[in-house]
Structure formats: C-alpha cells, structure tokens
C-alpha cells in the first residue's frame, strides 16, 4: 500500500475514462473471466495458451523470424544519446535482447542483456523461417531523390494532367501522427496510456511523480502547436497558390488577335471564346459598292478585289479598250487605202493629161541641122541610099539609122 493502510485502496480517481471503458466492456462482453491471477499477481495460468483472454483485440501475437543461429530475431534497438550522456555503444539497447536467448553482440552489458530469455518463447511451428520480405523503398529514395509525400501521385502516372499539389498529403505529413491500433477494447486508448495513468496515480499516492500525464500534456500542447503551424502553413500555401492562379488567369484572360478575329481564353473552362470576327476585305469592298451579298454584281466585285488587274471587270475593260483600238485601226486603214487610191487615180489622170498635152518640140519642131531635130525621114530604101554616107535618117517606123 502506498502511503497508508494496506487494506485501503489508493484514494485517487484519475482514470474515469479507463473505468468507463472497463465497465462498458464488462456490460457488453459479458462476464470477464476472473481468477486468472488468483493470487492477485501474475501466474502461469494467465498465459493465453491455457486460457485465452476474452478480448476483442484480434492483433496476432508477435512472431519474430528465426535467424541463422536458430534464435528469434528482433529489430535492433537504436543506439542514441539520451538527455546528456553520450551514446553508449552496445549499452542499454534494450528490450529487443530480452527476447533472445543468447546475448546479442550489440546488447552486451546492458540491463536488457542480463534479462535474456524474458520475452515470449518463440513457437517453432509458427515462427517464420526467413526474414520477411522487405518492402522496396520508393522510387527515388535509393537514388538519392527527394522523399515522396504519402498519397501524392507521381507526375508520370498522369502525363496529360497538370500535377497538382496534394494538400491533404502535405497536411497528413505535417500533422502529428496518431497512435495506431485499436487500443484497449477497440476504444483507441492504448495500453501504455492505461499503464502510464496507473503509474502516475500510484506515484502520486506515494508522494512521487510519475510523469506520464505531464509529459502527455506537454506533448499534446506541442502537437497543438504543430497542428496550428501546419494549418497556418497550409493556409499560406493555399493563399499563395490562389493568388498566383488568379494572376495567371488574369494574364491568360487577356484578349488576343489571331488572323482577322479577336479571341479570349477562359481559364475556368479552358475554352476560347471568339469576341469579334472582322469581315474579309473583299466583302468590305463589295459591300462598299452597294451590292447585296450573293448577287452577281457582289460576287464580281469580290472577284475584282481579289483578282485585281485580272478580275472580270478589269478584263472586260481591257477587252473593250482593245476593241476600240482595233476599230480605230480598221477605220484608219480604210482612210489610208482611200487616200492611196485617190492619189493613184490622180496620178493616172495626171499622166493621161500629160500625154495628151503637146510638148514644146511638138509646138516648135526643129528646121533640121540641129542635133536630133534634122534627121530626115525616108520612105523607101532608095531614098536612104541617096543620102550622104554617115547621115542619120529615120525609117518610116520611126527607127533611126545611119547611112
């Protein structure tokens, strides 16, 4: 009995929650087998192999793999320095060695190594013969990559989707971890919680200080602070992301011109809206002529704008101009031919009139003796013979001969 009569229980009631759990288990689960510890202490009959306890905790018993030496293997304890003492290699490595019969090299000299064989005896039928298959490390870890947040999806798994930041995974990583397991009677209260509170109660009754409750209170305050910091960080990240997204949306929302149209991107829907589409220039030209769309004149005007000097109007004008020139050339040719004909007629008439007009010789015949004018005309050959030798004479047919 701590600090009082041995028959009087400790007047400390600091476990109302634990009591409720125990009473609820008694009322729901039927009578709890009593007398397992008939001498109010631990006895061998408490072993589950003889009388398994009525517990809804379905956690299987711990079965450690068997090592090369045939002894069960347990995870090695971490050797770290404590509250001021340097790390003692091989010392105080603990409870893992309590379960192994031969002292393990790294546990020699510790209290735990002295207490070898205190753990549950391994069952050779159920103990695994090999080390359990180790889960391979996540990709990137063995290559020195950054650790991956739990729950985040790798970018390669969604090549077509923009990688989004997983706030839930980040929050889960930042928040303090909750204890695993169902706890006592599935209530979530762990066994170490129950024993810690019992130890605190007993220590307080003895005038001491257990420290479990105070430590847990400090831990809870630390967790609350950590939770607050995590929430604040997440809120800042969300606000920052929202601000950047808004800025990006505003920038992407600016209208832009493509071709003859004005477009605007809508980031919320991912669609592009057409604000305005300007008509083509040929339509503007045809409309400016006062033509109605679809009429032959409208179509011809559109073709004229596009084809320019080769359009139908230009070609028509060229053809008419050529016709005009051709007509002019034909008419000019007729004028020229008439002029030539008239000139030739005038020439013919001039020549005819010139032939009919007597010449000066005709009007003034030579008396003879003169050159050319004194040639006698003979009628017969005898008369020609009568002329002096060397004299020129003219025959009756007009030929001039010499005697």
């Amino acid at each position: 009995m701590i600090g009082g009569n041995a028959n009087e229980p400790v007047q400390q009631s600091i476990l109302p929650g634990l009591l409720q759990i125990l009473r609820a288990a008694q009322s729901n689960g039927g009578p709890i087998p009593r007398g397992l510890l008939g001498n109010r202490g631990l006895v061998a009959s408490s072993l589950p192999s003889e009388q398994p306890p009525q517990s809804d905790d379905t956690t299987p018993p711990v079965q450690y793999p068997v090592g090369a030496d045939g002894m069960p293997m347990q995870p090695a304890s971490v050797k770290r320095g404590g509250f001021g003492f340097p790390a003692l290699d091989g010392a105080l490595t603990g409870y893992g060695a309590m379960n192994a019969a031969p002292p393990r090299p790294q546990s020699g000299g510790s209290l735990a190594s002295v207490m070898n064989g205190l753990g549950p005896a391994p069952n050779p039928q159920t103990a695994p013969q090999q080390l359990p298959t180790q889960t391979p490390p996540p990709m990137g870890a063995e290559r020195g990559g950054l650790p991956q947040l739990p729950g985040s999806v790798p970018a390669l798994a969604r090549p077509n989707a923009a990688p989004a930041f997983d706030y839930d995974a980040a929050m889960a990583a930042l928040l303090p971890k909750k204890p695993k397991g169902k706890g006592i009677f599935g209530s979530g209260v762990q066994w170490y919680d129950a024993l810690g509170l019992v130890g605190d109660a007993l220590a307080a009754a003895g005038g001491g200080q257990g420290g479990y409750g105070n430590t847990m209170l400090a831990r809870r305050m630390e967790d609350d602070k950590r939770r607050f910091e995590a929430m604040r960080s997440l809120t800042e990240w969300r606000h920052s992301d929202a601000a950047r997204q808004q800025q990006a949306d505003l920038q992407a929302n600016q209208p832009f011109t493509l071709g003859r149209s004005r477009y605007q991107f809508e980031p919320t829907t991912g669609r592009v809206a057409t604000l305005q589409t300007a008509p083509p220039d040929f339509e503007t030209y045809a409309a400016s002529q006062g033509f109605e769309p679809g009429t032959p004149e409208y179509n011809q005007a559109a073709q004229d704008y596009i084809l320019r000097g080769n359009g139908p109007t230009a070609v028509g004008l060229d053809a008419s101009l050529d016709d005009h020139r051709t007509g002019n050339r034909v008419r000019l040719e007729g004028v020229r031919a008439g002029n030539r004909s008239a000139l030739e007629g005038q020439r013919q008439a001039g020549r005819a009139s010139l032939r009919s007009m007597p010449t000066y010789r005709d009007l003034h015949p030579s008396a003879g003796g003169g050159r050319g004018g004194s040639i006698p005309t003979v009628s017969t050959p005898q008369e020609a013979m009568a002329l002096p030798p060397g004299t020129k004479f003219r025959t009756p047919d007009g030929r001039v001969k010499i005697r």
Partner: protein
C-alpha cells in the same frame, strides 16, 4: 533550462536513491523538449529509475510506480515490435504492487490483465520470474 546530469551521477553510482530519482525525473522532464531523442532519453532514465526502485533501503512504492509510468512513456515512443516487452515489464511491476496491496481505486488489475494481449502477458510473466529470481539471489 540546461540540466547537467553529471552532477548527480557520482551520487547515483554511490547508491544515493535521491540522486537516482533525480536522474530518472530529469529524463522525464527532458521529454518536453522537442529536440530530444525521447526513446534514448527514456532508456537512460529508466536505468536510474529501476535502480531507485530496487534500492535495498530507500526504495518506495512510488519509485516502482515511476518505473511503470516511464515504461508506459517508453512504449509510446518505441516501435510496435518492442511494446509488448516494455509493457510486459510494466505489468510485472504493477502486479508486484498489487500483490502488496497497492492499487488504484476503480481499476481492477485482474480485469486489466485479462484483457491484455497474450504477448504482453507472456512477457510480464517472464519479467516477473526474473525479478523474483533476482530478489532471491
């Protein structure tokens, strides 16, 4: 606040139960520091707490209760594979207190041990046997 465990170390080694209690409590107090390795600190503090609880003349039931609280803390910060061993010792020490009539009102040790996982009970029995053997030696 900086603590110097070496101030009490010589006295604790010489059998001063007060120094042993101080060192054990120092490890518990250090747990409030988030930069401290809780598991290692508790491992070292438990050595002195066990010494104080096993002191032949100065040990009290409060020292044994402190060991139970520290073992519970140690189980909380230890891997799941080691919790049954740690909690087994806590149950064994609790059982020793109950055997001496030291109990907490409203907490039935028999009910508690009846609902405990089998591996914890097995470890508790082994630790209890070892403690008895150590007292007899």
């Amino acid at each position: 606040m900086t603590v110097n465990p070496y101030r009490n170390l010589a006295a604790a080694a010489g059998g001063d139960v007060g120094a042993q209690r101080a060192l054990a409590q120092m490890s518990v107090d250090a747990l409030c520091n988030p930069d401290v390795d809780r598991e290692a600190t508790l491992r070292e503090g438990l050595v002195f707490a066990r010494m104080a609880a096993a002191h032949p003349t100065g040990a009290t039931d409060g020292d044994a209760a402190r060991v139970i609280s520290m073992l519970a803390l140690h189980a909380r910060y230890s891997p799941d594979s080691e919790q049954s061993i740690i909690l087994g010792e806590a149950f064994a020490r609790y059982s020793a207190l109950v055997a001496r009539g030291v109990e907490v009102e409203g907490v039935d040790f028999d009910d508690l041990i009846a609902h405990a996982p089998p591996e914890i009970v097995t470890c508790a029995l082994n630790v209890q046997d070892a403690m008895r053997e150590g007292l007899e030696a």
